[in-house]
């Protein structure tokens, strides 16, 4: 009960924040349902419409092609919805009706050149107070006939593999019982297919190769020389047992979650900024990153993990801590790319829901529904109405991705037209994250805001020496931007100047309902409303309870075995990371255009195992790496290669290029520099809410101010908490050359990735990526030859060798052990000595460049 109450308080706070966000709340309502009386129509036609046409349509109508300030006034829906600043008309409420404020010159001055007559203003007053009856209703057009008939859908449901429930195989039927290669069920499935094609599995790889694979595949880091020694002995005694023991250890290490969490972050297009033209940071996105890492480490049941991300805000929570965690999980829906510069609010809302539909269906179901926004899906049996069934759910959901308003309000500028608030967490951070301000600094901020507001209003009234014209326009834009940035600083701290704890995420909207199908996806062409639900071919969900979006019902269906895809899609993702290629290679497309599974029965078997294990990701990982197949060599076999060039039947292990993070982390680790403690938050959180325009995460004005030690610097109050590690170096560059923490914690700003990640095919954070590309380019060579980070770590590595070994020979031996997990051959030992002696460099430089050479070599970059 007490808990419930605290939560209610927090919810009230949250709702306060909600009220400030972009509202599309009127969107789903249907105020047009009532017919107008003759008198209402007459009043509108004679007193209101002519004025609107004469005075407003020039800049705010479809006919004129203009919707200045995102506002159109030529239909009832558009008028109620309003523009960038809010609803133009709120029936019965003069104060909330911005149009009334504008014609009375209270806040806006409209029409711009003259004021309406008192009589006209009085008419508008009467009209609004009496309910703003408006006959300008866009009547729904006919829904287009669907090209996909019921029979096609039934047919697909019956025959297409991905829409069938996974089938349990009789194990006795799998493979040859006398086969002595197979160690696990997985092996039997694989062996059976190899036998059918007359192929043989490759021999086992040696111990160092297997251990290197295990460590990089499970925790993304190289094994230590000690681990190699222990493992070699154990592997000789009993390979299966040796693997089982080390796998147990590795799965318990926190580095497991950091590595596997990153795989998930690829899929969910995790990023800390909006991307697009006006690239605004998401200073709170890191919470979701940490939530993912923690969830993988805790082996949170995957079905629960799914439900939390889609509808965490609606799930029951035992306490406020859990509630916080659930809210953070919904960041998943909030962190997509956004065009905050979009003029039309309706368009923005439609695009936002579209991004959520697209991501959710491809991430969890391997199905692309977003193709059906404008017409029936061209390849899969998904109708346009299926899309709008889902759109109703997401359009009834409110997304929080921006920055809360300060006491001065929310400032949308010419660049960030679409603003949004954040969700205040029920549990505050123990040590606040982000900038804090002293009372003096707070005072200065307030004064600056008041000063700028004054300047702006003077400018609006024309009381300025620059007068009207382009100069004044430019000044207005500059002032608006400065106000927005000052307000953003003030709004995230409490009255003592300490940062509050926010997260991005979603809530059910204040009004919910079914969405109309939009003909050709055009927001001006609404047809009949489609009951909320999921694509017919995939199944059915419970109808949403009244006043709710239906997101909870959706989450409960996706995160369950009631659909045929979620478990399959996830075990296939795991398979992809362990074996280098999915059973379905198109990890996001389990539809008609995707590639069919190489081993459908195995995929089914694994997804049943997954569900039976309580959706344990660790259990599936364990089963895969404990198979005989995982132990195979990657040696080429010409005959097998000609028969199965893509190795789809897995006759050998796939060679894998180390991912960008592992390359950097392994260099840090070998150099003895890897910081094991996770950094707090993220550089982006330190930078706060800002527009990113360069490789520096700092507003040039602030950098200038900081350089001169004036205000707006973050002064960590040393008495209360330590200055954050991230800020120690004052290095706000995205490349983060001096950082020693794991790569998963590097800033992920859309379009401005750290070089160390970008050059090695990091997943584009604007796209859902289940399988990264692995290129091999001269840019990678240049990075390893010349990049300051490579150079720095090579030096650290050299110093480590000097510290730990005395003779040159020992250092060479030790270097090979650390980097490759093996001793150098005689020839390599000789070549190394020769290089060290003849490099023409000082001894330290020679050793550093020797170390760099090992990092640069192919053997280090690939996992055989």
């Amino acid at each position: 009960m007490i808990l419930l109450q605290t939560r209610r308080v927090a919810r009230t706070l949250m709702i306060l924040c909600c009220l400030w966000g972009t509202g599309s709340s009127s969107w789903a309502a249907d105020p047009a349902a009532r017919a107008l009386t003759g008198e209402q129509t007459k009043f509108f036609e004679s007193n209101i419409r002519p004025v609107l046409v004469r005075e407003c349509y020039g800049c705010h109508s479809k006919q004129s092609g203009q919707s200045k300030g995102g506002l159109r006034l030529d239909t009832q829906a558009a008028t109620l919805q309003g523009g960038d600043s809010g609803a133009a008309i709120v029936p019965g409420d003069l104060d909330a009706s911005l149009l009334y404020g504008a014609i009375t010159h209270t806040d806006f001055v409209m029409p711009p050149k003259r004021k309406l007559s008192d009589a006209e203003i009085a008419d508008f007053r009467t009209w609004i107070l009496s309910g703003a009856a408006d006959p300008r209703i866009v009547h729904p057009v006919d829904s287009p006939a669907t090209a996909i008939d019921d029979q096609t859908i039934e047919q697909a449901k019956r025959s297409f593999w991905a829409y069938q429930p996974p089938q349990r195989s009789e194990l006795a039927e799998v493979g040859d019982a006398s086969d002595d290669w197979s160690k696990t069920t997985i092996d039997r499935f694989l062996k059976a297919k190899l036998d059918q094609s007359g192929l043989a599995p490759a021999d086992d790889a040696d111990a160092p190769t297997v251990l290197r694979r295990l460590c990089f595949d499970l925790i993304g880091l190289p094994p230590t020389p000690e681990q190699h020694r222990h493992f070699a002995l154990a592997f000789e005694r009993d390979p299966g047992e040796a693997i089982a023991v080390i796998v147990d250890q590795l799965l318990k290490q926190p580095e497991y979650g950091q590595h596997w969490g990153r795989h998930w972050l690829d899929v969910v297009r995790f990023a800390e900024s909006t991307g697009r033209e006006v690239n605004m940071t998401y200073p709170h996105a890191w919470r979701y990153r940490d939530y993912v890492i923690d969830s993988f480490n805790a082996d949170k049941p995957f079905d629960e993990f799914v439900r939390e991300q889609i509808a965490g805000d609606l799930l029951p929570a035992a306490d406020d801590r859990e509630w916080s965690e659930h809210l953070i999980a919904t960041t998943f829906l909030a962190m997509g790319t956004k065009n905050v510069n979009e003029q039309s609010r309706a368009q923005f809302a439609a695009d936002l829901a579209d991004e959520q539909i697209d991501t959710s269906t491809r991430v969890f179901l391997g199905t692309s529904v977003a193709c059906a926004r404008c017409h029936d899906h061209k390849f899969d049996p998904i109708r346009q109405s299926d899309y709008y069934a889902m759109a109703g759910i997401f359009r009834s959901t409110k997304t929080f991705f921006g920055n809360p308003p300060s006491q001065y309000g929310s400032f949308s500028g010419p660049q960030t037209r679409q603003t949004s608030s954040l969700i205040l967490l029920p549990v505050a951070d123990e040590n606040p994250i982000g900038r804090s301000y002293t009372q003096d600094e707070l005072q200065q901020l307030h004064e600056q805001i008041q000063q700028k507001r004054l300047e702006l209003s003077q400018l609006r009234r024309g009381n300025n020496s620059t007068g009207a014209g382009p100069m004044s326009q430019q000044m207005r834009i500059r002032l608006s931007n400065e106000l927005a940035s000052l307000s953003a600083k003030l709004s995230v701290v409490d009255e003592r100047g300490d940062p509050r704890s926010y997260c991005m995420g979603v809530q059910d909207g204040s009004v919910s309902g079914d969405a109309p199908l939009l003909v050709r996806g055009e927001i001006d062409q609404p047809a009949d409303r489609v009951p909320r639900g999921i694509p017919v071919v995939l199944g059915q969900i419970d109808p949403p309870s009244p006043r709710s979006s239906g997101r909870l019902e959706l989450a409960r269906w996706i995160g369950s075995e009631h659909n045929t895809l979620a478990a399959r899609v996830m075990v296939n993702r795991i398979w992809h990371h362990v074996f280098g290629q999915g059973i379905v290679p198109t990890t996001e497309d389990f539809g008609m255009t995707g590639i069919a599974p190489s081993h459908p029965a195995l995929l089914d078997h694994l997804s049943i195992e997954f569900v039976d294990s309580g959706w344990s990701v660790k259990e599936i990982v364990r089963q895969l790496v404990c198979s005989r197949a995982y132990r195979m060599q990657s040696r080429m076999d010409r005959t097998s290669h000609e028969s199965d060039p893509d190795n789809r039947l897995l006759w050998r292990a796939n060679v894998k290029r180390l991912p960008a993070e592992s390359l950097r982390d392994a260099m840090l680790s070998v150099a003895g520099k890897l910081q094991t403690e996770s950094p707090r938050a993220s550089k982006v959180a330190q930078a706060g809410y800002m527009r990113v325009r360069s490789d520096q995460l700092e507003d040039p004005r602030d950098r200038f101010a900081r350089a001169f030690g004036t205000m707006l610097t973050s002064r960590g109050r040393s008495g209360r908490f330590r200055a954050d590690r991230l800020r120690e170096s004052n290095d706000m560059s995205i490349d983060s050359v001096s950082a020693n923490y794991r790569s998963v914690y590097l800033p992920v700003v859309r379009d401005f990735l750290p070089r160390s990640l970008e050059v090695f095919d990091f997943a584009d954070p604007s796209l859902v990526t289940g399988a990264r590309e692995t290129s091999n380019t001269p840019n990678q060579a240049l990075y390893l030859m010349n990049n300051p980070l490579t150079v720095r770590l090579s030096e650290s590595f050299a110093k480590r060798l000097i510290r730990e070994s005395r003779t040159q020979q020992d250092r060479i031996e030790s270097a090979f052990q650390l980097v490759y997990g093996r001793s150098p051959s005689v020839a390599e030992q000789m070549a190394s000595q020769e290089y060290l002696e003849q490099s023409g460099l000082s001894p330290l430089s020679a050793l550093s460049t020797f170390c760099q050479s090992l990092f640069a070599s192919a053997e280090f970059r690939y996992l055989n």
């Binding site: 697009r276 028969s643 325009r693 060579a781 010349n786 070549a831």
Partner: protein, 464 residues
């Protein structure tokens, strides 16, 4: 266990000269200077199958799908039928831009490209393009590799594989600041990695490029200089790296190791060649102004076009420059205008500059997107994707100037006259380069692959 020589014959990726050099001198595993042998160098120039009219390609890739009916495909019926219900649903939308006849040839080109229109007599419009993919990623990949289904080498990689390059200090195939996450479009797939496109300049979206070009005067390649080592010192280090690479067992990861080895050699040579080539400070103000490389809105693309000319001059075989985003489902009038304004002048300047240097003769300039847009409206002022019919143009390199090939129907929905599929276009481009698309094959996993798979007909009519 294979010998290297066997692998050279049978490996999926083939083996270049370095592996051979390694084999010859590596019995002692001692670093030896790399010898550049034109016989075995994988980038060495190779003779074409038959005399070529084009020696190199500059591909101006218009990402997002520029509207053909608003640029190069004049449709009077679309004007007449404005607002009427179109063949494929939606009401027809006439172009917001006027079309005019241009040059001696009288080609119809809209006012969206006033500067390019002045070069009409050098343009060869293919007004009957079509492809199989209705969405961007698929269509983009098909335009580059012929298929969206499989990972296959791109047109540039095939060209480089077929012809080698004239300057081995530079990548033979350069993609200038390509969009992030698009490396599949310039990759070599199963061809040796040395044939894949090198991205020069940081990749990233149009927005990131705009931001970056606003802050730096001379875009260059990151990490192009070593902070500590002199070139001879670095060469010694590189020889050691290559020694380590060659010590790798050859039957495990041959193609990748080979790719790594070659990437270091190329990177080492690029360190000298690239900064000089990318330094535009030597260009006179008149040239910069001609390309619009001195001011917005043409700054970014103007520089890239100028760089493309410099790379072409330096002997790079295939240069790709991407310009996006043409995907106007809404705000067609404003945004198509803005896209065109950013590239019209630079493209015209590139054509004129190549001509004045007598390079247009043997340089094939290609302009085109992954598809076109529907003649019917979307969202009022917008158009949807249209892969059934669209326009792509080429200039120089032996194509007919002032010529129009093929046609769409009266409104521009679908290619109806001399339809030119992406495969046909690929076959034609290779033909202009002196390569027979049916003979340009690569044996991978026991099968001969080619860019056009089992398709492709050369459009002989467009060849001068």
């Amino acid at each position: 266990m294979y010998t290297r020589r066997e692998l050279l014959k049978h490996s999926s990726a083939g083996f270049g000269y370095l592996a051979l050099a390694g084999m010859a001198s590596r019995s002692q595993l001692r670093a030896a200077p790399i010898e550049h042998s034109s016989v075995t160098h994988p980038l060495a120039p190779k003779p074409p199958h038959f005399p070529a009219t084009a020696k190199r390609v500059i591909f101006l890739c218009m990402q997002g799908g520029p509207s053909h009916v608003d640029t190069f495909d004049y449709k009077p019926a679309l004007i007449a039928d404005n607002g009427r219900l179109g063949q494929y649903g939606g009401s027809l939308l006439k172009s917001p831009w006027a079309f005019r006849q241009r040059g001696q040839s009288g080609l119809w080109i809209s006012d969206l490209f006033p500067n390019v229109a002045k070069q009409a007599d050098d343009l060869c419009l293919i007004r009957s393009m079509h492809c199989d993919q209705p969405v961007h990623p698929g269509a983009m990949t098909q335009m580059h590799t012929g298929t969206a289904q499989f990972v296959r080498p791109s047109l540039g990689a095939w060209t480089l594989y077929g012809l080698g390059t004239d300057n081995e200090d530079l990548p033979g195939f350069i993609s200038l600041s390509p969009p992030a996450g698009s490396s599949r479009n310039y990759s070599s797939a199963f061809l040796p990695a040395i044939y894949s496109g090198a991205d020069v300049g940081r990749s990233g979206s149009r927005f990131a490029q705009l931001s970056r070009s606003a802050t730096t005067n001379n875009p260059t390649v990151p990490d192009i200089r070593n902070p500590n080592l002199t070139p001879p010192q670095q060469r010694r280090q590189l020889d050691f790296i290559q020694t380590l690479n060659r010590a790798q067992s050859v039957d495990v990861n041959a193609a990748a190791v080979e790719g790594v080895i070659e990437s270091y050699e190329l990177a080492f040579r690029m360190q000298d060649a690239i900064p000089e080539l990318m330094d535009l400070s030597g260009e006179d103000q008149r040239t910069l102004a001609m390309y619009g490389a001195d001011a917005e809105p043409t700054l970014t693309f103007g520089r890239q076009c100028l760089l493309a000319r410099r790379f072409a001059e330096a002997g790079v075989r295939f240069i790709e420059v991407t310009h996006g985003n043409w995907d106007q489902h809404t705000r067609l009038t404003a945004d198509h205008q803005a896209r065109a304004e950013a590239c019209d002048q630079p493209i015209a300047a590139l054509l004129a500059d190549l001509k004045q240097r007598d390079m247009l003769r043997d340089t094939l300039v290609i302009w085109g997107g992954e598809f076109g847009r529907t003649p019917s409206a979307q969202n009022g002022d917008g158009r949807n994707h249209n892969n059934k019919g669209y326009t792509l143009w080429m200039a120089g390199g032996g194509v007919k100037g002032g010529y129009s090939y093929g046609a769409t129907d009266e409104h521009g929905f679908a290619a109806v006259e001399n339809p030119c599929h992406v495969h046909d276009w690929h076959a034609t481009v290779l033909h202009l380069l002196g390569l027979d698309h049916e003979r340009l094959t690569y044996r991978y996993a026991g099968r001969d692959f080619r860019l056009t798979d089992v398709h492709g007909n050369v459009a002989h009519d467009i060849i001068a």
